[in-house]
């Protein structure tokens, strides 16, 4: 049964970026309207003519641009990228002016622009066929899921978050004391209130709320919520006597409070101490409605529900204290949700929309008398929303300290783009250890890639979703509640005493719904209903059986968006319900994966529901107790790890290294390379699909967008030029085009308009017209009269590609040089120092301000050379150590000469056995002419490959007799040689080579500048200094750190030890303090030291140098 077809169908139909698109589409369909509805209307207060503006339906237009002349035209993403514009659609809002409840006027107003996610329902590309996409110049395989802001592609990376509205109980040990805590992050969109219930050593239970400066006793909160008697409070928590006994201390501490009113007074006194009584009461009430569990509602009507929820939170806490249940696991993936673009933009839009309304109200109230739609229309400043959204996405700055929310889309190669769109960030600080949070958790299985995570500070915090992962979309909680009541759930109000005492507690979407006696029965029925299609497939239900029978069972039903689901085949009676026939129909395209859910043969389970499942990995180990079976084992990997052949034979960190390296490899990122305008881009000239592919290769289009080449690789030492992971490359292979690539760099220049009618000009700056910063004629030789370099010109560092002059920076500069008249500055754009190339493309267009915009792309052919970095797909990286003539390379008896020779020492400690198998499989593939499947767990194994090799007359171990090309002598041992897919990584020596003798120095410290781009020096650092000290090489030390660095002479007064100055009239150095009595001597010190002395002086410290004659 080829169940891979299911995974393939899911990813083909849903696309790689479905999680972003679903989230965004949800926002434009419902989210934006509900935010507007939340505000609903605004009252314009005026003494004479008060009126009201009511907001109606939100309508989103098509992505468009408003040109400087006011003309409007629809645009596609490509135009946004090219013209440095944003891909946005107008937001139109129906507004109704009402006076005394009578509708006066009604009109639709433009309230701002919404950034459009590429390929979302709002994007024109989402409705195009493949051919149409090609015709408009877009890549049909582009996954979308990102935004275009100011011409650059930005992704809102998925943000991992704690599930809202869940009761998490935990035990903390502080100084030998056990403190039991129950925490709830009560969240409504855009607002979150953390509630913490704790039980200290004395046994009193207190509640901490964000809106209260002090902890409040549980009993008093319960009383304030309307449960006045101790008995009712105890019953709201639990009817079990052992739990009720633990409440004794809490009741004792609240004996003086009896009624709701007294409780409110008590709370008011704590939260608003010293205020007038009326205010204190109001504070207390608002604390109950807004500060306490706001997700249950923000009016006094919901206080009963809140008391029940609070009771449950306390019950869980006490059950933990009694040891009936275990503490909750914060790292369990059932306690996490992932927020994608839609939710993130909703947060932003809410504040932006509120700001717009506030601004509108202020303006209308200030202008006073006049009213009507024209005035309202004039008071709307769409820029408030437009700018807020655009700036947030452009910078990643989400406000309230949230930075780095968006990132520039990685376009290094196609794979890195896909991986970037499936990345997840954790909000946890990367500077703190957070050990457990970084660990791989059992619930990550099939949801999060076990291998793909960065090394170092972000390890385990940045993750990638697995191929099989599906992110839930939100569904209606009320429908689910309806189903549950049909199935016999009694709500908290309805339930009788027995049901309460013995029944299971059931929670829906973070609310305490009620009780049911037969919990397991309900769960099974609910699942049956879901499998019949009566309930949304993303709704999960899980039954938590306590480890002690005295505790109650709990059922959680979750409908929230952002949970990570995974498909599992349903097993009944030891047999999967999925048949071969059904699979065949999927293969033929008659059925879709979604039909499998409707047919009741596959479930989408989240991590909580999976706790109720018994899942087998494959049919071989299937028994009658199993409830589910994996769909396909290798779908547990993410996009990068799934392209590693035979990963299960590698030491696991190697797969992690490869997951990171694959994203740096050069390939064929997109067929649109002819007119892309990325700042940096690489293109591999002869990319090849790998001979040893995995199941995901065609699925991820890696057969069409490859990132490497199949190389003949021998494992052999060669004159020591491949020690320390270096590789030897055959020169003839390079001559024939092996690993040849192009590097593109974009230069751009726009003409700005300045105040006073002056503007930038594109021209050849002329030597005669007194241009400040004139570079010299030869640098302008390639540009033509329009100021731009000609296509296919050969350029190198310093050559101007866009000639531009600008008006003087400040008006004052005119006066200073009045004799010479006004001068302009040269603001030409030149090729970066130490880069060369050919002008590949010149784009001339207009930016949104109407200024002319030139983009010049320079290409540089990169032929592999010593120092360029390569890697196989097994985390085996190395630089070229030597390029060897083909005639000197070793050869086999068939005349096969390797393209690459790697060192045998690369294997024993790394244990990348997968590379050996790949090498043999590659050889077999080359011999048979058919690619070989190297998918994890299911690929063709080494035995089968050995058989193929044998059939073609090769040794089944992959070893061959080889001869030394220099001597013609047979090597004493057989050499392991085969075909391995090699990736050229973007770290090339041409971009890094750097040397300096003398050069620029920094203005402040007079020390050499830093970095290759500035012609900087190579730092002689502390450790290098330590070496010289250890050797006792004092003169070398002085030479490096003083003579050849920032040596300066200063004049010091021997008497006071302070720096003397040169008096031009007396023609000598004098000391300000000692005057004539001073004796000045000259000393050589580092300029940085002089600077330090003077900086200290500026802080009122007198550093004195004690000078003595050298003996």
């Amino acid at each position: 049964m080829d169940t891979w077809l299911i995974i393939e169908d899911i990813l083909r139909k849903e696309g790689i970026a479905r999680q972003h698109l679903n989230s965004y589409n949800e926002f434009i369909e419902r989210g934006i309207q509900s935010i507007v509805d939340e505000i609903g209307s605004v009252e314009i207060e005026s003494l004479t003519n008060p009126y009201k503006i009511r907001f109606g339906r939100v309508k989103l237009g098509t992505p468009r641009v408003v040109e400087i002349d006011g003309s409007v035209s629809n645009i596609l993403p490509l135009e946004g990228r090219l013209r440095n514009m944003s891909y946005v659609a107008p937001i139109h809002l129906e507004m109704v002016v009402e006076e005394n409840g009578i509708v006066r006027e009604q009109q639709t107003q433009h309230v701002g622009d919404l950034p459009v996610m590429v390929r979302s329902d709002l994007c024109a590309l989402s409705k195009m066929t493949e051919q149409q996409l090609i015709d408009v110049g877009d890549d049909p395989n582009d996954p979308g899921g990102y935004f275009i802001v100011n011409g650059s592609e930005r992704v809102i990376v998925g943000l991992e978050d704690l599930s809202p509205n869940k009761i998490i109980v935990d035990m903390e040990k502080t100084g030998g004391n056990e403190v039991f805590k129950s925490k709830i992050y009560s969240s409504i969109v855009g607002y979150r209130a953390k509630l913490e219930i704790s039980m200290k050593k004395d046994g009193a239970i207190n509640i901490k709320l964000p809106s209260s400066p002090v902890e409040l006793p549980l009993v008093i909160i319960m009383k304030a919520l309307g449960i006045e008697t101790d008995k009712d409070i105890a019953n709201a928590i639990s009817s079990h006597s052992e739990i009720q006994d633990l409440l004794e201390v809490s009741f004792e501490k609240a004996t003086e409070v009896h009624t709701v009113q007294e409780a409110l007074v008590y709370i008011g006194n704590r939260v608003a101490h010293g205020m007038v009584e009326e205010y204190r009461l109001r504070k207390a009430e608002s604390l109950l409605d807004w500060g306490l569990l706001p997700h249950l509602g923000r009016t006094p009507n919901e206080r009963y529900d809140k008391s029940m929820f609070l009771g449950e939170a306390v019950s869980k806490l006490l059950e933990l204290k009694l040891g009936w249940i275990d503490p909750d696991d914060k790292d369990h993936y059932g306690n996490k949700v992932i927020k994608f673009a839609g939710q993130m933009i909703a947060d932003l839009f809410r504040t932006a929309f509120r700001n717009l309304i506030r601004d509108m109200k202020y303006q209308l109230e200030r202008t006073g008398q006049r009213r009507g739609m024209n005035v309202v229309g004039a008071a709307i400043r769409p820029g408030i929303i437009t700018d807020k959204l655009r700036n947030a996405i452009a910078t990643g700055n989400w406000g309230r300290g949230k930075v780095g929310v968006t990132q520039l889309l990685d376009r290094t190669n196609y794979l890195s783009t896909l991986s970037h769109l499936r990345r997840i960030q954790s909000p946890l600080s990367r500077s703190q250890p957070n050990f457990e949070a970084r660990d791989l958790h059992a619930t990550h299985f099939g949801r999060i890639c076990p291998n793909e995570t960065p090394e170092g500070s972000n390890c385990g915090l940045v993750k990638n979703i697995a191929l099989s992962a599906i992110i839930s979309v939100s569904s209606s909680a009320s429908e689910v509640i309806e189903r549950l009541t049909e199935l016999g759930v009694k709500t908290t109000k309805e339930a009788d005493q027995t049901t309460r005492a013995d029944g299971c507690r059931i929670f829906v979407d973070g609310r305490f719904l009620g009780y049911v006696l037969d919990g397991e029965g309900l769960v099974n029925q609910f699942r049956q209903q879901r499998r019949q299609g009566n309930i949304h497939p993303h709704v999960s239900i899980s039954y938590v059986r306590p480890k002690n029978e005295k505790a109650v069972g709990r059922i959680y039903v979750d409908v929230a968006a952002g949970r990570v689901l995974r498909p599992l085949l349903i097993v009944e009676g030891g047999q999967p319900l999925l048949t071969d026939e059904t699979i065949q129909r999927i293969a033929k395209g008659e059925l879709s994966w979604k039909d499998l859910i409707q047919m009741g043969v596959m479930d989408l389970v989240d991590a909580n529901e999976e706790e109720n499942c018994y899942v087998t990995i494959d049919q071989k180990s299937l028994n009658r107790d199993h409830t589910h079976m994996e769909v396909y084992p290798s779908a547990i990997f993410g996009v990068t790890a799934s392209m590693i052949p035979y990963p299960e034979h590698n030491q696991s960190p190697r797969n992690t290294y490869e997951s990171a390296m694959a994203k740096q490899s050069l390939g064929f990122p997109a067929p649109t390379y002819g007119y892309n305008t990325l700042v940096r881009q690489h293109l591999l000239v002869y990319p090849q699909p790998s001979l040893v592919a995995t199941k995901s290769t065609p699925l991820l289009n890696l057969d069409q967008r490859p990132t490497g080449q199949n190389a003949i690789v021998a494992v052999l030492s060669y004159e020591g030029y491949n020690i320390e992971d270096a590789i030897i490359v055959n020169k003839a292979a390079i001559d024939r085009g092996f690993a040849r690539s192009f590097f593109y760099r974009l230069y751009e220049g726009e003409a700005k308009q300045y105040l006073g009618g002056m503007k930038d000009n594109f021209e050849i700056p002329s030597a005669e017209s007194n241009i400040r910063g004139y570079r010299g004629e030869k640098y302008y030789r390639l540009i033509e009269s329009d100021g731009v370099v000609m296509h296919e010109s050969v350029v190198s560092g310093g050559d101007v590609v866009i000639g531009r002059t600008s008006p003087p920076r400040f008006m004052e500069e005119y006066k200073e040089f009045e004799i010479k008249g006004p001068y302009r500055r040269d603001t030409s754009i030149a090729v970066r120092p130490s880069e060369t190339g050919t002008v590949d493309a010149v784009f001339m267009t207009q930016n949104i301000e109407g200024g002319q915009l030139f983009k010049v792309r320079v290409r540089d052919m990169r032929v592999p050379e010593i120092g360029d970095k390569f890697a196989s797909r097994h985390g085996q990286k190395g630089v070229v150590g030597l390029v060897v003539d083909q005639e000197d390379m070793p050869y086999t008896e068939d005349g096969i000469v390797p393209d690459v020779i790697i060192n045998p020492h690369a294997f024993p400690s790394r244990m990348t056995v997968g590379q050996f198998i790949e090498s043999m499989a590659g050889k077999a593939a080359a011999l048979t002419g058919h690619p070989i499947d190297g998918s994890a767990f299911t690929g063709e194994g080494p035995e089968d490959i050995g058989t193929i090799l044998k059939k073609f007359g090769f040794n089944s171990t992959g070893k061959e007799v080889m001869y030394d090309g220099r001597t013609g002598r047979k090597y004493a041992v057989e050499i392991f040689i085969g075909v391995v897919y090699y990736q050229k990584l973007h770290h090339m020596v041409a971009d890094k080579i750097h040397a300096r003798a003398r050069g620029q120095v920094q203005m402040l410290t007079k020390q050499p500048t830093e970095g290759r781009a500035r012609g900087g020096g190579l730092r002689f650092g502390e450790m290098e200094r330590d070496c010289l000290i250890a050797y006792g090489a004092a003169m070398v030390l002085k030479d490096r750190l003083l003579d050849e660095a920032d040596k300066t002479k200063i004049h010091v007064c021997e008497k006071c030890g302070l720096i003397a100055f040169h008096d031009i009239r007396q023609r000598k150095y004098v000391c300000r303090i000692d005057g004539e009595q001073s004796q000045i001597s000259t000393v050589s010190i580092a300029y940085a030291f002089k600077l330090l002395l003077q900086e200290m002086m500026s802080l009122n410290i007198a550093p004195r140098l004690l000078v003595k004659d050298k003996v």
């Binding site: 002819g674 001559d735 052919m861 003539d885 002598r969």
Partner: protein
């Protein structure tokens, strides 16, 4: 012989000029060692060579109404003996409206300088087991016949040995 200099008159294909030249260079050409000499041994000293040391091949192709693949057979050589070993080697695919017009200069050269001048695709020297006896297997790419390759190689080796002997005063 292999194409070594290309003058591109027009190229609106997706292949950059330098890539086009690289691909042309790798086309194996049928070679007559008797009629041509190495450019460095020629007294013309011209960068594009003279009839003694080079052959001009011209490519003028365009796609008018459909996508076409341009094959080696479309190269027109001034010497009908010096042509690609096969007509079926793809050079570039042209989309409608694209055009390539170029002059390519083929010259003699050495495999050591660039793989395009290697006359063989395989050259294997193996031990036979008997003392001082070896087996040499060569496989021509088609530019020269295997016997020509072997005798020319022997000739070059012989000349080198003579030069060595002369230099050392052994002759």
């Amino acid at each position: 012989m292999a194409i070594d200099e290309v003058v591109i008159l027009e190229n609106s294909s997706v292949l950059y000029d330098e890539l086009m030249a690289h691909r042309l260079g790798l086309l194996p050409l049928k070679t007559d060692l008797e009629r041509y000499i190495l450019p460095e041994q020629c007294d013309c000293r011209s960068p594009l060579g003279c009839p003694k040391c080079r052959v001009l091949l011209v490519l003028d192709a365009q796609a008018r109404d459909r996508v076409v693949t341009i094959y080696s057979g479309e190269l027109v050589s001034e010497d009908k003996e010096v042509i690609p070993i096969s007509d079926k080697i793809p050079i570039v695919k042209l989309a409608t409206g694209q055009k390539v017009k170029l002059e390519a200069y083929a010259k003699l050269g050495r495999g050591k300088d660039h793989a395009k001048w290697q006359p063989v695709s395989a050259s294997v020297l193996t031990e036979t087991g008997k003392e001082d006896e070896f087996e040499l297997y060569i496989e021509s790419v088609g530019s020269l016949t295997a016997p020509t390759i072997l005798s020319k190689a022997a000739e070059i080796l012989h000349d080198k040995l003579n030069q060595f002997a002369t230099a050392k005063g052994l002759a």
